[in-house]
């Protein structure tokens, strides 16, 4: 079966300018040779720490920033090339919800108009667009009679995020990218919005890309998960296999770093020391090697390739590829 989204070799380096002549002084390797697929109907989780490239990946998928290299195909059609899907068509198929619920809404528009804005821009008549907005308010659990004419500042964070979900769904997209969409919400509200997302996915046959730094939330909502570190995929596969038996040393450390929830079994030692390095001039070879307890010479020389096993999991680590030259391989 053809995947709904196929991404191959996605790369984005941002120049860092400075100095007297504003020359390019360095490159931020935000996303480097990232390839993955998203099947129709699944939820792909993307996890990683700050600077790992998860949000840049989302922005590249939405064509909010131009990509340097790589291809993106939606339902078999390349995005960006001439004969392919235009940006207008793309935005009908793919929509995004952001972390900051307030910044994503026009403060001068009543929320029903914010929801109807996309359909209006795509040529739907105003009464029909507003009717769709009312239906969507209902669908995200807000009474249209009470909420349609309110302004963003009159709503709570959880209510605003429901509006953003409704707005993202207004063009009836097939894929929704949720970039830290529940991260700013309180736990009790986060649970409500997560329930809503699970319900909507079933009712509307949606596919999600769910980006978060919260490992618990990603485990809860995702079918497959992709772990990123400094612009690279380090491990990628079915959520249960990765959480039960992580194989990349970074994935292991990330899971061990989660607070234990059991005061009788507290974390005695932090699995990693230091902060994630700056994505400007990342380490050579394996980018994790500067924090990896098992790093050897080969890790500095050769970037490890992402190698798949038969269970649908792929890992980029020299220790797991026989013949790599690592003593543990």
């Amino acid at each position: 079966m053809r995947p709904l989204l196929a991404v191959d070799g996605l790369t984005k380096h941002f120049p860092v300018r400075g100095g007297l002549l504003n020359r390019t002084q360095a490159m931020v390797q935000a996303v480097d040779d990232v390839s993955f697929t998203v099947e129709a109907g699944e939820t792909l989780g993307i996890v990683g720490e700050s600077g790992c490239g998860k949000s840049t990946t989302a922005r590249l998928l939405m064509h909010q920033v131009p990509l340097d290299r790589g291809t993106i195909a939606f339902d078999g059609k390349a995005i960006g090339s001439r004969e392919a899907l235009s940006r207008r068509d793309l935005h009908r198929q793919m929509q995004m919800v952001f972390q900051d619920s307030y910044a994503s809404l026009n403060p001068r528009l009543p929320v029903s108009m914010s929801i109807a804005f996309g359909p209006l821009a795509h040529g739907l008549a105003k009464p029909a667009a507003l009717a769709r907005a009312m239906d969507l308010l209902e669908a995200v659990g807000l009474d249209p009679l009470l909420f349609a004419n309110r302004y963003p500042h009159e709503l709570s964070g959880g209510q605003r995020q429901r509006i953003n979900v409704a707005r993202a769904l207004a063009l009836e997209p097939r894929l929704v990218i949720l970039d830290e969409a529940v991260s700013a919400l309180d736990k009790s509200i986060e649970a409500q919005v997560l329930n809503l997302l699970v319900d909507l996915k079933q009712r509307l046959d949606l596919t999600y890309i769910f980006i978060s730094h919260d490992l618990n939330v990603v485990r809860f909502i995702s079918d497959r998960v992709m772990v990123m570190y400094l612009g690279k995929i380090v491990e990628y596969g079915p959520v249960d296999r990765i959480y039960r038996a992580p194989r990349h040393p970074y994935t292991k450390a990330l899971l061990l770093a989660m607070p234990s929830m059991d005061p009788r079994r507290r974390t005695q030692e932090a699995p990693l020391s230091g902060d994630p390095p700056n994505p400007i001039n990342p380490p050579s070879g394996c980018r994790f090697r500067t924090r990896c307890p098992f790093a050897e010479a080969v890790c500095a020389d050769v970037p490890p390739a992402l190698t798949a096993d038969d269970g649908g999991r792929a890992v980029a680590c020299h220790m797991l590829s026989p013949g790599s030259g690592h003593s543990r391989a």
Partner: protein, 330 residues
């Protein structure tokens, strides 16, 4: 042993031209030296305001603090600004979520720590710099001697957090107030700071009040937990027993809505509704409008703090009368 922090019926109100916000509505607790109290609550529950009241950081013109706060024998609510400045740093210190609220961007880390030590202890600048170096080593900043000369913007987030902890501990406070100090950090850095704080707390025998919205973080650091809702402690008790068998419906709901251990893709047991408007709290239990166990009395009578077995207390009429038992989520 006498408690090093003693709070009796603390109330904090903020007055704005339009309304009066009742942020803290009657909190009492005692904390002994060497113990860690975790205050767990969501945004607007009053947990940070409670901390600021303890160290006298609330703006006097816009806030009204009532009740009794004693820290290391000093009555904080009755002190002048000059007296407060003397107590801050030596008896009580605070660390924040965002280290740049505590660090001055135009001075090096070493200058800031040394200045604090000179100001409070009257030692020479050389001696103060030597202490500053020891402190940076104590918070495990690599190449500490070089970092002494670094400005805050030259450090990573985790290092800045360590520098702020060093600054807070520079005059050996008896009480450390921690306001979500790990919330803005990446998960691999967060656990480093948690382990460090726990280690320092034990070595120095400090009392710590640790405010967080994250049950996991509270489980890692706190001996006791106080769950805060709408400016009141709704449940208090030893961390282990509160997390394993919550008794207040809000605590149970909060634990059930943390997705840890929830079956994949299943519905979470979310608490319906939203926290109350702090400018017009309901007359009875503040949680009653969202509580599935609430009966008419809950909506009229404010529940007291009822003691339970095993050093626990709960602010719920129905639990106290044995009419409901909230089931444990795990």
């Amino acid at each position: 042993m006498a408690p090093v922090v003693s709070v009796k019926d603390l109330r904090v109100r903020f007055t704005t031209p339009d309304a009066v916000v009742s942020a803290v509505n009657g909190i009492s607790f005692d904390l002994k030296a060497g113990r860690v109290l975790g205050i767990l609550g969501e945004s607007g529950s009053g947990k940070s305001v409670t901390l600021r009241a303890l160290i006298g950081l609330l703006p006097p013109r816009h806030s009204r603090v009532e009740g009794h706060i004693a820290v290391a024998g000093h009555n904080v609510t009755k002190m002048s600004d000059a007296e407060l400045r003397e107590v801050r740093g030596t008896k009580i210190a605070m660390i924040f979520q965002e280290p740049m609220t505590a660090l001055d961007p135009v001075f090096t880390i070493g200058e800031q720590i040394a200045e604090t030590i000179v100001r409070h202890e009257g030692v020479s600048r050389d001696a103060a710099y030597r202490r500053a170096l020891e402190l940076l080593e104590m918070v495990q900043i690599p190449s500490a001697a070089r970092r002494l000369k670094a400005y805050p913007h030259e450090m990573s987030g985790g290092m800045r957090q360590r520098a702020m902890i060093a600054l807070a501990l520079s005059c050996r406070p008896a009480v450390l107030l921690a306001d979500e100090p790990t919330t803005a950090l990446d998960v691999t850095v967060q656990i480093q700071i948690i382990v460090l704080l726990r280690q320092l707390q034990q070595e120095l025998g400090m009392a710590v009040v640790f405010v967080t919205h994250d049950v996991g973080v509270a489980a890692e650091v706190a001996d006791r937990i106080a769950v805060m809702y709408a400016g009141r402690f709704v449940e208090t008790g030893p961390t282990d027993s509160v997390i394993r068998s919550p008794s207040h419906p809000y605590t149970a709901g909060l634990l059930a809505s943390t997705v840890l251990g929830a079956a994949h893709g299943q519905r979470l047991e979310a608490i319906p509704g939203a926290p109350p408007d702090m400018t017009s709290l309901p007359p009875g239990c503040s949680f009653a409008p969202r509580c599935r166990f609430a009966d008419p009395r809950c909506r009229h009578d404010l529940p007291g703090e009822y003691p339970l077995a095993a050093d626990r207390a709960v602010r719920c009429l129905r639990v106290a009368e044995g009419e409901i038992a909230v089931t444990s989520p795990r």
